[in-house]
């Protein structure tokens, strides 16, 4: 095995890049606001993402109120309902999950876990955040624009997205949404290039790619995917903007609106769907892969056991990333396509189950006979595995063309993707925050509040989304403002909807406990010390907690992989990555 290269005397090779000179802030503004320190940028990204995520949470409450108690709330009319759906979906997928995993955890963890002083281009990194913030503000502005935000659904399918029948279609809504997405992509690209180059070219001495914690592998692969997938969304947004503003017909067929023949003609709405889903499917894994990576590290650390099959875990991440670029049309089975294409896309979709199942087995095998500590991060990690398996299994239904066609656009789909890419990654985000909060602030989060938050969120998420499978199977459509009296829907379906709404209100309220915990513990949390979880990875070995600007006094040197837990013969049950030692005291060869 080729590993780090040593000289004949066993000495490590010299540093290939001289130590970087960091930008040193001169004022409060450049230290904490226009900061070029990846750790500050990470906190800025995370705070902004959580703030706009709270908006999405409230929107989901409002939707549930309408579904549970149709017509009881006069201000939720059909238009508003569609606006809530659209904004909830877009905020959650792009502005919360993508931004929090890559901009938040990516910025914080990549330099620290790799033993770097900062990202390679701190200035571009700072710009990335400010453009992201601008994108969020433009998006939020659409709530106050004439006509309100767009109600086109988060997929923004033309032609309806730019027609007057859709809220915001002929007003500002769709324009602000498209502008915001374009800004987000520009901002993300600046950050994303930083993350990729830092991983490839900015690692510490001794840190080989195959010694990186899986967290970094997940974030790295997701970032590469995002850099290749977001261009399709960018192009789709630009073209739809032209259709709306200039009157071009990229996506607009000949169409009659309000009894009037429009000037458009000859465009292809299916073209938009292809562009959108060429971005949209990788996007699922852009959110999922960092979650896979983080959860691997949480499980290994809190079960005091090396991750099972590290190399296979890495390759599974890479293979899932590659496969996710050739499955996009499984979102378009009902749009109609050549049956051979349906066959192709169904096959590739189901092949993804292989590396994904491999990861689930390896997580379970890591837990097997481990010294499992049921800490908060561990609870969330376990909840993730269960939820992800649940959501993944319904994916097998929806990946097959003949099963998908009747289930498409029912609540079954809503249940599926909320389980697999909504609840599951968010459980990981919670687990990760409980895990790394002590490093960010130097204090532990409150355990009692955390337990309360966990159990309500975990059980509540199932009370919300499990019944939706049933609703979908009896044919309840999604995205409908109200069902009315429908013959195929039994009265119990309405009762169930009411039940889901109550569960959703409670789960949403539990997040207030979490937010309070986050704020309260900055001052009042128990002192964490440098390495409260007794973890091996580099971010826990910094000389100060929270790490100062530049992260290290002297750059660390890495001697082992990230998973030396419970090594037989070692004095403690973990050996930090930067601790030299005899080669027989490692489990690195275990994979």
């Amino acid at each position: 095995m080729v590993d780090i290269r040593s000289g004949t005397d066993g000495a490590l090779e010299h540093a290939e890049v001289e130590d970087v000179e960091l930008y040193h802030p001169h004022s409060w503004w450049t230290r904490y606001v226009f900061s070029q320190d990846a750790k500050i940028i990470a906190v800025q990204y995370a705070s902004t993402a959580i703030a706009i995520g709270m908006v999405a949470l409230v929107l989901s409450w409002l939707m549930r109120l309408q579904l549970g108690y149709p017509g009881a709330f006069a201000f939720i009319d059909a238009e508003r309902y569609y606006q809530f759906i659209t904004m909830h979906g877009m905020i959650m997928v792009i502005y919360l999950l993508t931004a929090l995993f890559l901009g938040g955890f990516g910025n914080y963890l990549i330099p620290l876990m790799l033993g770097a002083r900062d990202m390679v281009f701190p200035y571009a990194n700072m710009l990335s955040y400010w453009i992201y913030l601008l994108a969020v503000l433009v998006l939020a502005a659409s709530f106050f624009a004439p006509g309100g935000p767009t109600g086109a659904g988060w997929t923004l399918y033309p032609p309806q997205a730019v027609l007057s029948g859709t809220p915001g279609g002929k007003d500002w809504g769709i324009l602000l949404m498209l502008s915001s997405l374009i800004l987000f992509i520009i901002g993300f690209t600046m950050g994303g290039l930083n993350y990729v180059v830092t991983v490839l070219q900015g690692r510490a001495r001794g840190m080989t790619l195959m010694r990186m914690p899986l967290t970094i592998w997940g974030i790295f692969t997701a970032t590469v995917m995002a850099l290749l997938a977001f261009p399709a969304l960018f192009v789709a947004c630009v073209m739809m903007m032209f259709d709306r503003v200039l009157g071009t017909s990229f996506f607009m067929p000949a169409i009659v609106e309000m009894g009037e023949q429009l000037q458009h003609g000859g465009g292809s709405p299916i073209l938009f769907q292809h562009l959108f889903w060429f971005f949209g499917h990788p996007e699922v894994y852009i959110v999922a892969l960092p979650a896979f990576g983080i959860v691997s590290d949480l499980i290994s650390t809190h079960a005091r056991k090396n991750i099972f099959g590290y190399r296979m875990m890495v390759w599974a991440i890479v293979i899932i990333g590659a496969l996710s670029f050739v499955v996009w049309a499984h979102h378009m089975y009902v749009s109609g396509m050549n049956p051979y294409f349906g066959f192709f896309f169904a096959t590739t979709t189901l092949i993804i189950a292989v590396p994904t199942a491999l990861k689930v087995y390896n997580w379970v095998l890591t837990l097997w006979r481990g010294d499992i500590h049921l800490t908060l991060p561990m609870l969330f990690a376990l909840a993730f595995i269960v939820t992800f398996v649940n959501g993944g299994l319904t994916g097998l239904f929806l990946g097959n063309v003949v099963v998908d066609v009747p289930l498409s656009d029912t609540m079954f789909v809503v249940a599926h993707f909320h389980m697999v890419m909504g609840v599951a990654p968010i459980l990981v985000i919670f687990g990760a925050i409980y895990h790394w909060y002590p490093k960010v602030t130097g204090r532990m989060l409150n355990e009692a509040m955390g337990q309360l938050h966990f159990w309500i969120t975990f059980v509540g998420a199932y009370l919300i989304f499990f019944p939706m499978h049933y609703l979908g199977l009896i044919g309840v459509p999604r995205r409908y403002y109200e069902m009315g009296e429908t013959a195929f829907m039994p009265a119990s379906a309405h009762t169930l909807n009411e039940f889901i709404t109550i569960a959703a209100l409670i789960v949403g309220a539990a997040q207030i406990v979490f937010l309070f915990n986050l704020v309260w513990c900055i001052r009042h949390g128990r002192d964490a010390g440098g390495n409260p979880w007794r973890a091996t990875t580099l971010e826990w070995q910094t000389p100060e907690t929270p790490p100062r600007h530049g992260n290290w006094k002297e750059l660390p040197v890495v001697y082992r992989w990230a998973y030396d837990y419970s090594v037989p013969g070692a004095p403690e049950d973990f050996i930090p990555q930067n601790q030299p030692g005899p080669d027989n005291l490692t489990r690195e060869a275990a994979t």
Binding site: M1, V2, D3, I4, R5, S6, D9, G10, A11, L12, E13, H14, A15, E16, V17, Y23, V120, F121, P122, Y123, G192, L193, N194, V197, L200, Q201, G202, R203, A204, R205, G206, T208, L209, R211, L227, L228, F230, P231, A232, F234, V235, A236, V238, M239, F242, L246, T248, S249, F250, Q263, G266, G267, S268, L271, L275, V557, P580, G581, P582, D583
Partner: protein
């Protein structure tokens, strides 16, 4: 492997070549692409991402052109210039392409002189490259003006499919924006080279990092990419 110690060796070890070297580089620590600076790696990855943007634009254009139900305007007539009493097809595009490809040549020479620390020649060649680029954009503006005066609009044209105008303005506009940004960067870097910023170690206004001559090559990478993209636009839009 015996217990590694902290003492660094002074001489870099020889690296294997060929496939073994490739594997060794990917299995090594610190840097995957040895001897590739951060800036250059970043530009390459950005260009990969940008390739996907242009790729999506071109695929969208091809899909529109292949699925159109009305005739597509004939490029060799639309892009002809009336010179000396006869229509010369594609003459302007031929000159534009020649100018842009020439600019890649001057850019490559600028990179060469940059590494020889020849400030004057580097700056002069970069300025020449920028001049070629500006000429290209100028001719593009002329072409747009001509087409617009003949009635081509993003939403329609006198000869056939409306998507002809929409894709033409969108794709050449996006490419022209790239060229314009390139010209601006060339001028900024040429000024820095001329002033000798890379000898004196003057710090960047925004990044407060010291610049290096390598930035000439990184700008060159971008410039060649924009040039290469034009070759595809030329082939798919004008020659098809």
């Amino acid at each position: 492997m015996s217990a590694p110690t902290h003492s660094p060796v002074t001489e870099p070890l020889p690296r294997p070549s060929g496939l073994v070297g490739f594997a060794a580089d990917w299995a090594s620590d610190q840097r995957t692409f040895k001897n590739v600076s951060w800036g250059k790696a970043m530009m390459w990855i950005f260009l990969l991402s940008d390739t996907f943007i242009f790729g999506c634009f071109l695929v969208a254009y091809m899909s529109a052109r292949m699925s159109t139900a009305v005739p597509w305007p004939n490029p060799s007539e639309v892009f002809a210039l009336h010179i000396g009493g006869s229509d010369v097809p594609l003459i302007l595009i031929a000159i534009m392409t020649f100018v842009l490809i020439s600019s890649s040549g001057t850019m490559a020479m600028a990179v060469n002189y940059g590494y020889r620390r020849d400030r004057r020649k580097t700056a002069a060649l970069m300025l020449l490259t920028a001049l070629f680029g500006a000429t290209f954009v100028g001719m593009q503006a002329f072409e747009w003006t001509k087409l617009i005066s003949e009635g081509v609009r993003p939403w329609g044209n006198p000869w056939g499919a409306a998507q002809f105008g929409s894709t033409f303005f969108m794709i050449t506009g996006f490419h022209g924006t790239h060229v314009t940004i390139g010209v601006i960067f060339l001028l900024i870097i040429a000024r820095k080279v001329w002033r000798g910023d890379f000898e004196t170690g003057k710090r960047g206004f925004f990044t407060s990092r010291k610049g290096q001559y390598e930035i000439v090559e990184i700008t060159g990478l971008y410039w060649h990419f924009v040039d290469l993209v034009w070759v595809f636009i030329f082939a798919f839009f004008y020659l098809w």
